[in-house]
Amino acid sequence: MNEPIIDINHLRISFGTQKVLKDVSLQLFNGENLVVLGKSGSGKSVLIKCIVALLNSDSGIINVLGEDLSKLNSYGLNELRQKIGFLFQGGALYDSMTVKQNMEFVLQRIRRNLSQQERDEKIMDVLENVGLADALNKMPSQLSGGMRKRISLARTIVVDPLIMLYDEPTTGLDPVTSDEISSLINKVQEKYKTSSIIITHDIECVRATANRILMLQDGEIYMEGTLKEYESSKDPLIKAFFK
């Protein structure tokens, strides 16, 4: 297999006396969808927040696109973050801005060389890809949960990231919308050639998107393997997830 684009070694993080991640190591390879599965509170979201340095680890090495996060200054970190897309659990759309302004806000800061016309074309192209071209001038409060997720995904991919991090992309959505989001994740991977880490506990989403699965339990890696290996596992915890 090719070189890993994210390489995490012996990551430890704790909040006060609570140890959230205990010696976690993982690798993400170019073009793959790695699903991180686990119960609530197992440290999944903390793990991907460490990858974009929203949280600082206690120890361990995080290497993203060949850069060691601990050695980057704020300028270097900003440069690196421009290559990573992060889809937050609740969408995190800016409430005071329209859909277009939400996307322009990111484009103006990351793709500064684009003209207004190029920006508009890019926004329309991405919105058409997520099937919401008619929501251009809507406020986030006028959108449903599924639409917010799709617009949020559009805002993330508008800057052509190399890596996508999805924090529970289907949580709180009905099964039909969840399926739509899962297909969108695959579509994004195909069209934009991204590599992704998908945090979820939705098994249908795992089945639809995973190339490789890693299970976290109490801050430690419990099992790593393919969907087939997980589905044939006799471990009671794995079975409880895949029943």
């Binding site: 927040k49 973050r81 992060f86 995190a92 409430d95 990351i110």
Partner: protein
């Protein structure tokens, strides 16, 4: 008759007491520790605000937007407050001045009281209620819904975009709102004087301003900049450091109002003392 005396083992008693003392000491140490941590966080926040204020790449468009939100959108409330302030002060003071045969001093007295003290403090408190709470709630809800983190991962400095713009806008707009309230207060006072008398607009205003000196206006304007800075900083600090749950949005907004109002009064006391010493 036999008396039952409860006998306690001396060692057990001492152990029990020492445990109680150590628990109390621990609790007090922890609350002192929290207090000191809060103070340190406030200092770090102010230092970071100053550092980001003078760093490159200013968010000028957002600053103008915040000036509009804080300044223009507060005009209706400040108009009503300013007018009522002058009107009520005139209606209340007039009978006393009439008793002393000093009715002609009414415009000057109202103008000086409004410009020196009532205008800045009352407008400052109103702004603390409106602006600090709105900043606390807005930034608090952005924190809860991960919008601040989303900003950070899209290479935007949230401290610069959200905090620096709001605090500077408040620092510049609140003095303007205070001067506007002073002007409307004097207008309200003229209306109040005409409820039981007949004073021309020109006479009332010329009398009012003949009593106002530069040294009445200057310290009031200077302290109003500090009111603006305090209101902006408290509102942003409370919102930016809100907790994780939705409940914390309410807590942030509420404590922003309480602390900002209190600090406006404290700044006023300090400003009055300094004015008294210097002028």
């Amino acid at each position: 008759m036999k008396k039952n005396i409860h006998v306690v083992n001396v060692n057990d008693f001492a152990k029990q007491q020492s445990l109680i003392i150590s628990e109390k000491t621990l609790a007090k140490t922890e609350s002192a520790n929290n207090f000191l941590t809060d103070i340190a966080n406030v200092c770090l926040f102010i230092v970071r605000f100053i550092k980001e204020s003078f760093a490159k790449n200013h968010e000028f468009k957002e600053f103008l937007n915040q000036c509009f939100q804080i300044g223009y959108k507060s005009l209706p409330l400040i108009s009503v407050t300013g007018t009522i302030m002058g009107l009520v002060l005139t209606i209340q003071s007039r009978p006393v001045l009439v008793n002393f045969g000093a009715e002609s001093l009414l415009p000057g007295m109202v103008a000086v009281s409004l410009i020196r003290e009532m205008g800045p403090v009352i407008t400052g408190l109103i702004c603390a209620g409106k602006i600090a709470s709105s900043m606390g709630a807005e930034l608090g809800s952005m924190k809860v819904t991960e919008q601040i983190e989303a900003m950070e991962v899209s290479s935007t400095n949230p401290m610069k975009f959200l905090v620096v713009t709001r605090v500077w806008a408040a620092t510049l707009m609140i003095p303007l709102l205070i001067l506007y309230a002073d002007g409307l207060g004097i207008l309200g006072s003229w209306a109040g004087a005409n409820l039981k008398g007949d004073v021309s607009f020109t006479l009332f205003f010329s009398q009012a301003f003949s009593h106002v000196k530069f040294l009445d206006l200057f310290p009031a304007v200077v302290k109003s900049f500090f009111f603006g800075a305090v209101i902006g900083l408290v509102g942003c600090y409370k919102g930016y450091n809100a907790g994780r749950g939705t409940e914390s949005v309410g807590v942030a907004a509420n404590s922003a109002v309480v602390v900002a109002s209190l600090l406006v009064l404290i700044v006023d006391v300090i400003a009055v003392q300094i004015t008294d010493m210097v002028f």
